[in-house]
Symmetry: D2
Subunit: 260 residues, 4 copies
């Protein structure tokens, strides 16, 4: 693809305003740190959006001109308007990639695409996490070694209530004794979805160069090959000659024609 | 399981009131024909419900006491209340089986569980359909041969906009030239979902003994092994000893700790 | 199924003869401990077989009369005859269940069914393992809680070189820092395959009541619904009328008929 | 990837020598027609190999320098040496893409990678086939419409005895009444495998421009991102501190530690 991949990094952008620790780590919001990391890849054309902008920062024109969207939300999932969620979901089905980060597992958009509750266990004691690279030949893991270590993270533990992923890319080991499917791919309609676990607001996860590499890889992987149509049950003419039929509406007659 | 499987057959029950042909085929509604077919299996305890009953026939008490639900809807998907859809979806995630029939592919409940548009092509010229049995060792196909033939059906054609099924049980051949994934299984939460294509209201599909056998098989297959909990992100104590942590909130410090 | 499930527990049965610790734990061989555990379920009819018996303990008559086979091997994978492997593989494709235990991941039969190398990391320092139950509504996990703990195990770590499992039932956490997909289901032909990781010969794993419960559950889950045919490319008569054809063997002619 | 993708088109190359019709259609062998089609993509560097060359045309040096291999075989599957099959299989696990064509479904290499019998139904009456494009957003289907029509083909019908594909790309409709999963992707180790049904030797299938487009797309899709290691069960040092253990080899002691 000669044209650049148009990325929109969406952030709730609330913790950064109310919590001093978060503000210190992400003075311009996590979206700007993520966007800066993505801009290191010149194939990506990156802009940002956040909840408190008009139409939650995602008017139709922004969604329509986005190839890959990143999504970070946590404390205000309920404030994202239903019409915005539907707009984003429709564009995923038309081919837009969607990278759902960390606490975004409980966002309206992720739950709408999964059809499940998306629950998980959690704990915040700054423990160590080691993400094992289960698919070293997948585009998302290129440039990584066997695992990525994060010295301090919030723990997410199984059972993660998601449909069977197309692929499980990372499985996490946590110091406190849990495991988690931390990188999962899904296709929904024509769009690729990647859930990526790390990214708690009170730890400098998005400053980690390996995490940044994964985000860039994911953006490239999730980009659609084109724009695709989402139909709404079109009527279709027959491709073969079908002679006129006499239907026997008597129940017995039809039953006799069936073969066990 | 010693106890019987509690089945609720839900029907929109509108075509049967307004269309003479449908009334002739299903004088008491398709739900009663389906229920009668299911009752041939004494392991199944079957009741029915329909759209125009209070709470769409599905108050909390009915949903809670259902192990497997059948769903037929077509012309009035939009009239099913959102709260009823959420109630049914939650119970699927807790383990209830759901058998979605024919035009139910476009119902709110199926779309909510799939996360996709669930569009498909269609045509109604009473053409022949042959459902190929792709999984002869699956519980749903026991007692069938290599295929089931329906002399007159509405056609549904690909592309069917669904997530990758756990298993494709039937693939249909249509006289007019199309194919369709006509029997698909999905797990959502702890519940099993089976989409089964045949069943147009103007043909006597639900009087066909092979179709009836498939419905009975599906009810038995979809029954949960028990009731399961759907969590809402519980906090978890560590299972291993995690010593107190000092987090370096300076970005550089953390970055140095990561290993490429 | 009224008839009992006919189970054959196959064991290499070598470590038990040469290693004092193993002999102490499994005086009659691991197969007898496993068989005794399975016999607690009166639905199972259990016999044993081992490598040094004639035809590796698996003549055609034994394989043909087996519904579910358990497989434990380690130091003598290469001594299992290729014809025995083919015989077992064919019967799996015809519907026989196969439960592959621990070091059986590197057996000829498992590698033949997977098509991959089935490599993994390992370490033997008696560390703790916690198997997380990822599928609490699956038949194999009934009666278990959220996890199973083994105080002393050999470690197996990712990347486990297997095709994508149909379902990952257990993911293990290891004290030393690794994770592993410890319970994986696969269908091959009409047969169900379950790989289950625990079971090192120098630890009393098969005396653990939870492990024994999993083995019983797995035997019941893997039992076929019947005997199924494995075809060898049969010729088929057309089901529809196909008029005689004139094929244009000139390349250009055909090309013109295709539509882009 | 700046470097070109190194493609080897392997052909049995027997029908072309013994059958006049085949010779007319493919005077230099099907491999040369396929290779010429692939060479229209300048990203592909294409060579050919065939059965009757030394080492079946696939010495270690050829396999090692191949990124994507095409495989056409039919009447002489048994003549491919087992050591060549193992060599090719190992390179697939290391990342080489493999495109298996038509009757190659019954080749040693495909059966080895699948672990199943790979049987199917067949019939040769020059009937019409229509391949429905189930995954219009997949790299393999770019540039295609909703379906591809072949006026004269050999029929392959279900049940196709393969493990569940990662994705079903094409489903075929046949004039005589059957359906078939005609385009299936699988990952084995680090290698991508694509089975593509069309291609019977007595019809000019490989001269069809849409089929040629699919072959080029498949070559690009199957190319590995790099060379990957296939391990053979390495021992691993612990990543976390594991204190020395006292194992209780008495069965009872261990049992008490487990928790139900």
């Amino acid at each position: 693809m000669a044209a650049k991949i148009r990325v929109t990094v969406w952030n709730e952008f609330r913790h950064e305003k109310s919590n001093e620790k978060v503000k210190q780590l992400y003075p311009n919001g996590m979206h700007e740190t993520i966007a800066a990391a993505l801009r290191q890849d010149e194939n990506l054309e990156v802009r940002t959006a956040y909840l408190d902008e008009p139409e939650n920062g995602l008017p139709q024109s922004v969604v329509d001109s986005t190839d890959v969207m990143f999504w970070w939300g946590h404390m205000a999932h309920g404030e994202v308007k239903d019409e915005v969620v539907k707009r984003v979901q429709k564009h995923v089905l038309e081919g837009m990639g969607l990278i759902v980060l960390h606490s975004g597992h409980f966002s309206k958009i992720f739950k709408s695409l999964m059809g499940t509750n998306c629950s998980l266990k959690w704990r915040e004691i700054a423990e160590k996490e080691r993400l094992w690279n289960i698919e070293p030949s997948h585009p998302i893991t290129q440039g990584l070694g066997e695992y990525v270590e994060l010295p301090n993270t919030e723990m997410y533990g199984e059972r993660f209530d998601i449909p069977q992923p197309d692929k499980v890319i990372f499985i996490s080991w946590f110091e406190g004794g849990e495991v988690f499917r931390s990188g999962c791919t899904f296709q929904r309609g024509h769009g690729k979805v990647f859930y990526f676990r790390p990214g708690h607001e009170t730890y400098p996860i998005y400053h980690n160069p390996q995490i940044q590499l994964i985000l860039r890889n994911a953006a490239n992987w999730a980009a659609p090959l084109g724009g695709f149509r989402v139909d709404s049950c079109p009527n279709a003419k027959p491709l073969e000659n079908v002679p006129p039929k006499t239907v026997d509406f008597g129940k017995a007659g039809v039953v006799q024609k069936s073969e066990l």
